[in-house]
C-alpha cells in the first residue's frame, strides 16, 4: 500500500478494478488515517471496496450496517442482561460483598461488543465499514462524529476504552438524505460513478475469467446502453456480473434478443423498466447485431487481464 499504483495492483489481484483517482483516495485514507466517505449509485462496489481493502491489508472487516432507528447501544455495546440476572440469582447466597458482585456482573464476560467497540479493541487496526450511514438518524450521526474524532468509548461501569489502533474507516452513503457538514468534514470524499465501458469489460474479465471476450464486450456495451435509458433502477456492476453468470449457465456464447429476453430479470428489476427497454429496442440493436458481423471484432486487445475484444474500425 505504498502508492496508488500498488493499491491498484493489489485490488486487481483480487478481481477489483480501480481507476487512478479511486486508488489515490484509498491511498490517502491509509496514509492520512482519515475516514473515507464513498457515495455513488447503488451497485458500483462501495461495500465491496471495504471487503477487498480488509483482504489487502490482511486484517478484519467489521461492518456496521446502518438503518433507521439504529442507536448508540446497538452500535457500541450492550450488557447481557439475561445473563447478568441469572448470575445474580445464582450467587444470591454466596459470601461476596456487593462491590465484588457488581464487579463480576459488569465484567468483560457480560459485555456484548457491538461493531464500534469491537473495532476499537482489536489488536490490529481493522477495516471498519459503516454501511449506508445515510439510513441512520441524525442523532446517531452526531454520536458517530464523537467516536470518529476521539476513538474512545466510555462505559460508565467500566471506564474509558481507548483505541489501540485507529481503524481504517469506510463510510458509504446512497444519499437518501444529506449527511451533516460536520461528518463530511471529518472524511475524505469520493464519488464512485458507474464504470466506463473499458472498466466494465475489465471487471467482467477479472471476476469471471472464463467469460468469452466477445460476450464480455457485448454485455458491457449493452449495460452502458441500458444505463442511459430512463430506468427507475439502472443496472449496477452486481447486475452486470449476475447477467454474465446467467448467460454462462445458459451456455450462451453471444448476446442476442432471445438471450436478452431469457435473462432480463437479472438486469431489470422493475416491470416498468422492462417496458422502457421495449420502447427503446433500437438502442440495443447495434450491440446485439455485432455478433452477426463476421470478423467484426479484433480479439487481440489486452486490458491487462486477458484478451478482450474491441469494435473493429
Amino acid at each position: 500500500m505504498t502508492d496508488p499504483a500498488a493499491i491498484r495492483a493489489l485490488f486487481r489481484e483480487r478481481g477489483f478494478i480501480l481507476n487512478d483517482p479511486f486508488a489515490t483516495a484509498l491511498h490517502l485514507m491509509v496514509a492520512l488515517r482519515k475516514p473515507l466517505l464513498l457515495e455513488g449509485p447503488a451497485g458500483v462496489g462501495k461495500t465491496e471496496t471495504a471487503k477487498v481493502l480488509a483482504d489487502v491489508l490482511d486484517t478484519r472487516l467489521i461492518r456496521l450496517q446502518c438503518y433507521e432507528g439504529l442507536d448508540a447501544m446497538t452500535a457500541l455495546y450492550e450488557w447481557n442482561y439475561p445473563r447478568q440476572m441469572l448470575r445474580i440469582r445464582m450467587t444470591e447466597g454466596a459470601d461476596t460483598t456487593l462491590e465484588q458482585r457488581e464487579a463480576q456482573i459488569f465484567s468483560d464476560e457480560f459485555l456484548l461488543r457491538r461493531p464500534l467497540l469491537d473495532a476499537i479493541v482489536q489488536d490490529r487496526a481493522p477495516v471498519l465499514l459503516i454501511d449506508e450511514v445515510d439510513r441512520a438518524d441524525e442523532a446517531f450521526e452526531a454520536f458517530l462524529l464523537e467516536v470518529l474524532a476521539e476513538w474512545q468509548v466510555t462505559i460508565p461501569e467500566v471506564g474509558t476504552i481507548r483505541a489501540r489502533h485507529t481503524p481504517y474507516v469506510i463510510l458509504t452513503s446512497n444519499r437518501t438524505r444529506e449527511l451533516s457538514d460536520a461528518l463530511r468534514r471529518r472524511c475524505l470524499f469520493f464519488w464512485i460513478p458507474y464504470p466506463t465501458l473499458d472498466e466494465e469489460m475489465a471487471i467482467l474479465q477479472a471476476r469471471i475469467p472464463g467469460l468469452e471476450a466477445r460476450l464480455a464486450e457485448q454485455i458491457a456495451r449493452a449495460i452502458q446502453v441500458l444505463r442511459d435509458l430512463p430506468l427507475q433502477k439502472a443496472p449496477g456492476v452486481a447486475e452486470t456480473l449476475d447477467w454474465a453468470h446467467a448467460l454462462i449457465q445458459l451456455h450462451r456464447a453471444h448476446l442476442d434478443w432471445a438471450a436478452l429476453e431469457q435473462t432480463l430479470g437479472c438486469i431489470l428489476k422493475v416491470r416498468e423498466d422492462q417496458s422502457v427497454l421495449e420502447s427503446h429496442r433500437e438502442r440495443l440493436q447495434p450491440v446485439l447485431e455485432e455478433t452477426l458481423k463476421p470478423g467484426g471484432h479484433s480479439l487481440d486487445t489486452d486490458f491487462g487481464l486477458g484478451s478482450v475484444s474491441t469494435p473493429h474500425r
Binding site: L36, E68, W79, R185, W191, P230
Partner: protein, 400 residues
C-alpha cells in the same frame, strides 16, 4: 500545469480560498492541513496525481466533486487556456462548462444539473445550441432551451427562505402527524410493547430490593414521513411561490426528512437552504436560470424521477408540487411523470395558487393531465390553509 505563486503553501492556500469563495467549498484549516499532508506523498510534477490527491480531500459532496476539476483548471491552467477535459470517474458533461450547462439537463446518469457555478455562454452560442438540438429532433431539450433563453427571460426573482413563524410550524407539524408512516426499526421504551426491556426492568428492580416487580417494555415507534416539495419557480408563479417556500421551511423544521427542489426549465435541489432557514437563518438564493422563463414541468419531474426517485420516494413519502400548471413542455412526459410519482409515493399534493382566483378552473393542459394522479388539489396561502390541508389529506394505504 503552472503555479501562480512561487511557493507551494501559497498556491495551496490561494486555491483553497478560490474554492471557498467561488464554489462554496467548505474548507477550513483542517482541510488545508490535510491537503498539505496529502501533497507530501504526491508527485508534484504530475498534474493528474495532484488533482487526484486534492479532490477527495477538498471535495465533501458530489457537487463539490463535479466543480473541482473545472476550478482546478481555471486556477492552475488559466494561462494555458485549456479546454475542460474529461476526467476519469466523472461524467464529461458535468465538467465542461458550456452554453447549456445549468439550463439543460441530459439523461446521462448519474449527473444532475444543480445550478452550481457555470459559465453562461454568449447568446449566439445558445442559439447555435438550440438549432443543433432541434436538428437532432430532441424536442424536449429544444423546448427547454427556448424557454430558458426566451426574450421573457430576466434576471429572475431570488428565492427567499424566511425563518418560519410559529403558526407555520404548528400547521406543518399537524400535517406531518397526519401522515402515518410505517413502524420504525428502532426500539423505544414504552408502557406496552412486544419486547421485554431487560435494562430498564433491572434498573427499576433496584427500588424493590433487586426483585423485578415492575416489568418494562419496548416498542417500535412510527417512522417519520418524508416530504418532497417541488416548487415551480417560473415567472408566472411570481410572488405566489412564497407560501410554498414557507411550507418547505416549516416542514423542514418539523421533519428532517423534508427535501425541497425548485424547477422551471431545470431542477435544482434547495434542501440545504430550506433547512438553514428553518434553523432561523434567512436565505436568499439567486437562481437566475431556474427562476424565470417558461416551465417544463414534465421534463423537470422526469429529471427528478431519474435522479432522486430511488432515494427519496417510497410508501412514506408525500410529494407536494407547487405550480400553476402552466406548462410549455411535452404533455405526454408530464402525464407519464405524474403517473410514476403517484405510483411511487404515498400521496401527491398539488398546491395551485390560481385556485384562489375567482372563476378559475384547472383546465390548463398541464393541470388537466396531472389531475388524475393528484390526491389533493388545493392552494396554501397561510398557516390556516396548511392546517386545512392537514385535516383533509388522505394517504394511500395508511388509513390516515
Amino acid at each position: 500545469m503552472t503555479y501562480p505563486f512561487s511557493s507551494l503553501p501559497d498556491n495551496l492556500a490561494a486555491f483553497c480560498a478560490s474554492l471557498r469563495r467561488d464554489h462554496q467549498f467548505n474548507i477550513g484549516p483542517r482541510e488545508l492541513m490535510d491537503a498539505a499532508r496529502g501533497l507530501e506523498i504526491a508527485d508534484l510534477a504530475d498534474e493528474r496525481a495532484v488533482r487526484d490527491v486534492l479532490r477527495p480531500i477538498l471535495s465533501k459532496t458530489y457537487e463539490n466533486a463535479l466543480a473541482f476539476d473545472p476550478a482546478f483548471n481555471r486556477f492552475f491552467r488559466a494561462a494555458e487556456a485549456v479546454a475542460p477535459r474529461e476526467v476519469p470517474g466523472l461524467p464529461p458533461r458535468d465538467l465542461a462548462p458550456s452554453a447549456s450547462e445549468g439550463a439543460v439537463t441530459t439523461r446521462t446518469r448519474p449527473a444532475m444539473s444543480d445550478g452550481t457555478d457555470v459559465e453562461v455562454a454568449a447568446a449566439e452560442t445558445v442559439a447555435g445550441a438550440v438549432r443543433q438540438v432541434a436538428d437532432a429532433e430532441d424536442d424536449a431539450m429544444a423546448t427547454r432551451l427556448r424557454a430558458s433563453y426566451s426574450p421573457l427571460e430576466s434576471d429572475g426573482t431570488p428565492l427567499v427562505f424566511e425563518p418560519p413563524g410559529r403558526e407555520w410550524v404548528e400547521a406543518a407539524a399537524a400535517l406531518a402527524a397526519r401522515v402515518h408512516a410505517g413502524a420504525s426499526r428502532r426500539w423505544r421504551p414504552a408502557l406496552r410493547g412486544p419486547r421485554f426491556d431487560f435494562r430498564r426492568t433491572l434498573r427499576t428492580s433496584l427500588h424493590t430490593g433487586g426483585e423485578p416487580v415492575t416489568w418494562r417494555w419496548r416498542a417500535r415507534p412510527r417512522r417519520q414521513p418524508r416530504f418532497v416539495l417541488l416548487i415551480d419557480g417560473s415567472r408566472s408563479m411570481g410572488a405566489s411561490a412564497h407560501p410554498a417556500l414557507q411550507v418547505a421551511v416549516a416542514l423542514s423544521a418539523v421533519s428532517p426528512k423534508t427535501e425541497t427542489f425548485t424547477f422551471s426549465t431545470m431542477l435544482r435541489r434547495v434542501t440545504r437552504d430550506a433547512r438553514l432557514a428553518s434553523a432561523g437563518e434567512r436565505r436568499v438564493v439567486q437562481v437566475q436560470q431556474a427562476w424565470g422563463g417558461g416551465t417544463t414541468i414534465g421534463a423537470c419531474l422526469d429529471e427528478f424521477l431519474l435522479h432522486f426517485s430511488e432515494r427519496l420516494l417510497g410508501p412514506d413519502t408525500v410529494v407536494m408540487i407547487a405550480s400553476d400548471g402552466l406548462d410549455v413542455g411535452r404533455p405526454d412526459l408530464l402525464r407519464d411523470s405524474m403517473a410514476r410519482l403517484a405510483r411511487q409515493s404515498a400521496a401527491v399534493v398539488w398546491l395551485n395558487p390560481l385556485l384562489d382566483t375567482p372563476g378559475y378552473e384547472p383546465t390548463a393542459i398541464g393541470m388537466s393531465l396531472a389531475r388524475p394522479y393528484v390526491s389533493v388539489l388545493t392552494s396554501v396561502r397561510d398557516p390556516a390553509s396548511l392546517g386545512s390541508l392537514a385535516r383533509t389529506l388522505r394517504v394511500r394505504g395508511r388509513g390516515a
